[in-house]
Symmetry: C2
Subunit: 106 residues, 2 copies
DNA sequence: AAAATACGTTAGTCGTCACTAACGCATTAA
DNA sequence: TTAATGCGTTAGTGACGACTAACGTATTTT
């Protein structure tokens, strides 16, 4: 099974998720915002649904995709799990010291 | 140029970043924690350094890799930029309602 | 000193992933 | 009803990415 964070991070899929945050949309609606074909968008959506980040509802000949809240919660959790306290400290230091040195020990 | 979030999210590289949060380490030290070869680890590190998430220091025949604070700040920023207010609201709803419905509109 | 060992990077291969092209199906028009 | 149009998914292809194998270089050891 594909990795949740990896699936969510691909730039086009990131954009799709953000568009879907506005509400449910069809494949064609979504693909209007992209340089790539409907087909490509459709496959990205299928992948997103495979990992549980979106769900689909069929209506006539349209398929309305929407975000899956539970999946998005899992996504947030996985990111927070990665972003440990150590990283927080590190980033805090970097922010305080400016963009030169990177770690506590010189 | 490769995408920062994508580079950072690959599972092995995620693990590398977390290990490096403990402090600087050599390629061989790092590869001890992985099933894959030193070579693979080395290439992951090269990629990470290419996007500015790590830097290297040479000492004898060892190369000590460490996190780059500035890069990590940029990483955090990019994630926050993706995670819009809408997504926060969505996730808050999902957490409150439980794992069934996903969006405000039924 | 030469030989052996250890560290890290480059060369080459295989699989996967993102994409366009072709398709099936549903719906509208004639 | 049949033809035509539109929506979304599957088939096929090219490129990219992760990995092992081979290499160069530096350091020990004898």
């Amino acid at each position: 099974m594909p990795d949740l964070l990896e699936v969510a991070t691909e730039p086009n899929r990131r954009a799709l998720l953000r568009l879907l945050a506005e509400g449910e949309k069809t494949v064609t609606e979504l693909s209007g915002h992209f340089p790539v074909s409907r087909s490509a968008v459709s496959q990205h959506l299928l992948l997103l649904s495979e990992v549980g980040l979106v769900t689909a509802r069929k209506d006539g000949r349209n398929r309305y995709y929407r975000l899956d809240g539970a999946g998005m919660v899992r996504l947030r959790e996985q990111f927070e799990a990665f972003w440990t306290t150590e990283l927080d400290l590190l980033v805090a230091d970097a922010g305080r010291l400016g963009p030169q040195s990177s770690q506590g020990n010189i």
